[in-house]
């Protein structure tokens, strides 16, 4: 059942959205019509030249793409390999999240939807959604865990300034997992007029594939940009942090079928993988169903989903996209993790040696570089998924302690 054909490529899940045993659409009948419409139309819409042109124009003139591929000279010298940074932090709104929301808002318009709902953890996806809704004059409601609303106040203010309604998710643990539940429930209650913009490569098929495709612009650019400076489109490694896995999916996408390129996914280890305060899903989880797809899920032996911990709200998620679960299981991906402490340290270190303040999520990706046993001939691209403005409060606290 659901056997993955080794000859097909990693970029294309099966018709029912399976990557190996992971994926699918485990949704209540109330969502069937909406998800089915998306499933039958997304590829066709995304393939339409007029749609492509509209997305490309916005990515260029509104988001500011292509984002630079920057050779990090001091970091390279320190690590002992050639390290390039894909500067998604320079996107409008400060992270890669907007690549997806630009695509999905135009898709929602094509589907005749009037209202947008979204979930958000750190608030980056919420801000990116509120931004494109303002741009297109669409109503926007963002579900956000009550706890995250407290710890990400600047992003809550941004969303409100952009005209979005921010609804606190008060159920369960009051974080990203519950915000996602609330958004799905809201969609169930208003299926006709509403489109749900999921922010990561999670959720029922076709979301994981659709979001990966919208984010794949990252690796499309990486290939041409790297070729221009090194003569080859292929690095030896691509490194990205993974919560649900959207920036990693985008950075890996056009390298998935290039076996010479090692794909390194970095999960949040919190206080340490086995500390009981961690979000390293592939290390701690097992096969399960969460938010409409089968993947690797952190859960009790009774199948109740457990609350993860990470210093970064964006990686504080007990699941992982089904594509990544498959990359883990098939060993196509290398999965590593970084603790809260290491991420914080690297947020400061990168600021000091390259003049770039990264988001806490992104800092996890840098923290594994010293452990990768890199050679001077290695060419590494790190996806610098977001900037650190939103984490200033955490950084200020850390400086006080120092």
């Amino acid at each position: 059942m659901h056997l993955f054909n080794e000859l097909t490529n990693y970029q294309q899940p099966s018709e029912e959205g399976y990557y190996g045993q992971y994926g699918g659409a485990y949704i209540p009948e109330m969502l069937y019509s909406n998800v089915e419409t998306l499933k039958t139309q997304y590829l066709q819409i995304m393939d339409d030249p007029a749609f492509k042109a509209e997305v490309a124009a916005l990515l260029k003139d509104y988001v500011g793409r292509p984002t630079p591929l920057f050779y990090a000279e001091r970091l390279s010298a320190e690590i002992g390999a050639k390290i390039y940074l894909k500067r998604e932090d320079l996107c409008h709104t400060g992270a890669h999240k907007i690549n997806n929301t630009v695509g999905q808002i135009i898709l929602a318009q094509r589907l005749g939807k009037k209202k947008i709902i979204a979930e958000t953890g750190a608030g980056q996806h919420g801000v990116a959604t509120a931004t494109v809704c303002a741009l297109k004059g669409m109503e926007c409601v963002v579900y956000m865990g009550e706890k995250d609303i407290e710890r990400q106040a600047p992003n809550v203010a941004r969303m409100k300034m952009l005209g979005a309604t921010v609804v606190p998710a008060k159920s369960g643990s009051k974080t990203l997992k519950d915000a996602t539940n609330e958004a799905i429930r809201a969609w169930i209650n208003e299926p006709d007029t509403t489109h749900y913009i999921i922010g990561s490569v999670v959720g029922p098929h076709p979301y994981p594939d659709m979001v990966a495709r919208f984010q794949s612009v990252i690796s499309t650019e990486m290939r041409t940009q790297l070729e221009a400076v090194t003569g080859s489109q292929l690095p030896t490694h691509v490194v990205a942090c993974v919560g649900g896995g959207s920036n990693a999916a985008g950075a890996f996408y056009h390298y998935l079928n290039e076996p010479s390129v090692e794909l390194v996914a970095v999960e949040a280890a919190g206080h340490g993988v086995y500390s009981g305060m961690s979000a390293a899903t592939t290390q701690l989880g097992s096969a399960g169903i969460l938010h409409g797809s089968k993947s690797i899920v952190m859960q009790t032996k009774d199948g109740q989903v457990v609350e993860p911990h990470s210093i970064s709200a964006g990686l504080d998620y007990p699941g992982i996209g089904p594509l990544h679960a498959f990359l883990y299981e098939s060993k196509r991906g290398t999965f590593m993790s970084a603790t809260d402490e290491a991420a914080l340290e690297w947020a400061f270190h990168l600021s000091e040696i390259e003049g770039i303040i990264p988001a806490l999520e992104t800092a996890h990706a840098f923290a594994v570089l010293p452990e990768m046993n890199l050679k001077p001939t290695d060419v590494v691209i790190v996806c610098l998924s977001g900037r650190g403005d939103k984490d200033l409060a955490t950084y200020m606290q850390a400086m006080d302690i120092k």
Partner: protein, 257 residues
């Protein structure tokens, strides 16, 4: 013949299915609640197995699920509570739950044990048609359990007929696309129920989501074979003094002439 089929042969009007959450309000309330429901006129018991992330449920059932989990409810604990269920419960019992806890328990083992304890059927809202046909349906059928699919006003006719043909016991007609516990305007729902009735489905159908009192129960019974009450009963339990008094008052209200 399954208990559900037998029930509908004897009574195909105003069948009342009441939902309760296993392990709520107290861990050991399960049997007491079920016995009380049977005694006071429920025809079917839909026993909910609590899950941390119940997508199709509104706030009331989410809260009862969370409370039940905090009380220590698990599938193992539930099966222990149901060990002698059939010495006192004679009406059909249907288990409702989400896929993940069942997968961790082991799907086949779950079906086997449920059948052994005298459970009659399953309602699994996040087990979609495709997965049912590819993977899980055969196990359910092999264990002689009825499976009840949900249909909504948006379910296209060909799909609805298919869901009906794969269901047994009854069909669960969701009053409108919504989570549980949402208020409904039943004049709007009437058209959809009339259509369902005219389709001459293989299974009897019960209407659920938004049925909360005598008025809504009566309204859908013009077309349906009966209805399912969930959130309203859980709410009553959460506020009531003791299970028996609460259940008696609640069901008398719904079933009064």
């Amino acid at each position: 013949m399954s208990r559900l089929t037998e029930l509908f042969e004897q009574k195909n009007k105003r069948v009342l299915n009441v939902y309760c959450t296993a392990g709520y309000p107290q861990l050991n309330s399960t049997m007491e609640v079920m016995e009380s429901l049977q005694k006071n006129g429920a025809n079917i018991i839909e026993l909910g197995m609590p899950y941390s992330d119940p997508l199709a449920d509104g706030e009331v059932i989410q809260n009862s699920s969370l409370a039940a989990l905090e009380n220590g409810m698990t599938i193992d604990a539930l099966f222990e509570q149901l060990a002698t269920m059939r010495t006192s419960i004679h009406i059909p019992v249907v288990l409702m739950g989400y896929m993940n806890p069942i997968l961790q328990y082991g799907f086949e083992l779950f079906c086997k044990k449920a059948k052994l304890l005298g459970v009659d059927g399953l309602i699994l809202p996040d087990l979609p048609l495709y997965e049912f046909e590819q993977v899980y349906g055969s196990t359910i059928k092999a264990n002689d359990l009825d499976f009840i699919f949900l249909v909504t006003p948006e379910t296209p006719e060909t799909r609805l007929r298919k869901l009906d043909s794969l269901s047994s016991g009854f069909l669960y007609a969701v009053s409108s696309s919504a989570t549980t516990g949402t208020d409904k305007d039943f004049t709007k729902v009437a058209k959809y129920l009339e259509r369902l009735k005219s389709m001459q489905l293989t299974n009897p159908f019960l209407v659920g989501f938004g049925i909360k009192d005598k008025a809504s129960f009566d309204a859908v019974n013009v077309y349906a074979n009966g209805a399912i009450i969930g959130s309203a009963y859980i709410q009553a339990l959460s506020k009531g003094k003791d299970v028996e008094t609460t259940t008696k008052t609640f069901l008398e209200g719904v079933l009064s002439n």
